[in-house]
Symmetry: C2
Subunit: 347 residues, 2 copies
């Protein structure tokens, strides 16, 4: 365990959600017990974390150690390989917290051959940061987070569709942070027409996600607020090739088959690395039934709604055996005033 390796991971966390289909990475250059350079990968296509940190360190990188949250890259992508830069600057030791399983050539070998001491030091928090990223990259699909706000009895609304506001102000604020950390928010046509939501990130200097709307039929009211705000970038997925957009901020994407897999695959091609699903029971259930969800975030208000459960967040046509239903692992639980937040992963 090294504090400097932790700092590199901290830096990676700071830029999470702004690197698109690239991983968030942090780097710290240390010489004689002193940080001489700090860096993070700030945007897809921009310099890698190692390069930012080396450029800050300049000559002081000579004979220094570089700590990186992820194995340095060995390939020419949008930027030259980091291993070359590391060698060029005269670094004598590289410590990294997570293997990059997508590299085609061996980082350790290249660095070792250049006389550099390489230390892969597995860190669980780095693994948590990257494991979904690698799966996503391999499958060329975005990482998917499903968010649900509901009552203790699992309902997003009363039978008469009343839903404002079940959860509290702290949850709202937490959701703004969630949006900031995702490239896009996906929802269904029903939610848009019923709630007229803006899906904005009302935090200071927050990054608004791209809004993705699923409307297979293409029967959607284009006069809604979300379509008329010129600042709001909207993509509509539909199977209806007659649907078209009147404004430059709204793009209609027609697919022959609007399956989740096809949509996610298309989103990834468009640079969406992290997708947040904030939808009603239909779309939410479709995602939760699939194997495409990385994380489920549940906000419970301490209320019971009752009724017939028209808006239960999880509804399926098939009835599974109890031994076959999806199981989750609680990764984190947090009290947001009197509301409970659970972060879960499918087991």
């Amino acid at each position: 365990m090294s504090q400097f390796l932790n700092y590199a991971i901290n830096l990676a966390h700071m830029v999470q959600g702004q690197t698109g289909v690239n991983p968030p990475v942090g780097a710290v250059v240390v010489r004689d017990g002193r940080i001489v350079g700090l860096g993070a990968h700030l945007q897809h296509g921009d310099k890698h974390a190692e390069v930012q940190a080396l450029e800050m360190a300049k000559d002081l990188a000579k004979d220094a150690t570089i700590y990186v949250s992820l194995e340095p890259c060995t390939h020419f992508g949008t930027t030259p390989p980091c291993v070359n830069k590391i060698i060029e600057y005269g670094i004598t030791k590289v410590v990294y917290a997570m293997k990059d399983t997508t590299l085609t050539s061996n980082c350790d070998e290249i660095l070792t051959n250049a006389g550099i001491d390489v230390d892969y030091r597995f860190q669980e928090d780095a693994e948590n940061l990257y494991k979904d990223f690698f799966t996503a990259k391999n499958e060329q699909l975005p990482e998917v987070t499903v968010k649900v706000s509901c009552s203790l009895d699992g309902k997003q609304a009363t039978d008469s569709a009343q839903s404002k506001w079940i959860t509290n102000k702290q949850v709202k604020q937490d959701v703004f942070n969630l949006r900031h950390r995702h490239d896009a928010v996906l929802t269904g046509r029903n939610t848009i027409e019923h709630d007229n939501p803006q899906y904005t990130t009302r935090i200071e200097n927050g990054k608004n996600p791209i809004k993705v709307i699923l409307s297979k039929s293409g029967t959607i009211d284009m006069g809604l607020d979300i379509f008329t705000d010129p600042q709001s970038k909207v993509w509509i997925y539909t199977e209806n090739n007659k649907l078209c957009s009147q404004t430059s901020n709204v793009e209609v994407i027609v697919l022959d088959d609007c399956s989740l897999n096809n949509i996610l695959s298309d989103l990834y091609q468009r640079g969406i690395g992290k997708l947040l699903v904030e939808a009603g029971p239909t779309v939410t259930s479709e995602f939760l039934q699939s194997s495409l969800v990385n994380e489920l975030i549940l906000y419970y208000a301490p209320k019971i709604i009752g009724g017939s459960g028209k808006y239960q967040f999880y509804q399926t046509d098939n009835v599974l055996e109890l031994s076959d239903i999806p199981n989750f692992e609680i990764v984190n639980s947090e009290l947001l005033e009197q509301n409970i937040k659970l972060e879960l992963r499918k087991k």
Copy 2:
């Protein structure tokens, strides 16, 4: 509250203990919801955090917001004023977490006159980071931390001077971190002669503090390990002008009066911003009786030593009324395996 302001404060924490008589500062440049530059003040005399972050951001700093843990400087010191750089790069908003009470001209006014929106947003953790720094700077004396490892009954050793090891391995590790975060460690002649300690920072890439030894009489065995290690920088304060050093790593500093105040004042002139006192009862008690201590860190092992208490860590000649004895505030308590760490401040 802004996460970006927190990130700036995080960056400041990362470089704490490596900026000497300068404050540890972090800065984050944000544009369109995205971090475009990160920086920290890495060393006394080096670029300020704002400049590091602006240089990383380059053209993207135009119309961006900069978050800084401390009010940007307005003066020509070892580097030009940060406010000029901020204006030059076209920043439109400056958010900072703590006022710099040592500035002679008004940062807010200069930035506001340049059409920049200024937002001083007080953050308690930034205040904790800087309040001692400003007192120290005003008084031109280092910030002083006194560290004591002892038994539950307040003894550093048995009456027969047995002291290895009262506290556990986790405490030892924590002390290495403490040393890394201070510019120098001060102790008395007795401790050096009795324990022959190295005062090193045995953490990976840890920064070894300068060793400061207090020996008024100057009767000290110059053959001890601490003097013979050429890597070890030692300063001896004495009133004995006949004491001299045979090696370049050991410097003898003769003062007419080796009062704590004179020693601390001299240390500050030599660039020591943060001093850790790790000493026996005599020196420890002298510091704790004075008004020169910012922080007291106590490590208790769950043991009782008894005896007459020859090595109680706090002993004084004067007996005070109960209403007049020093009072502390517990800032933090932590369990290190079976040892307890308390961080305290004088009330």
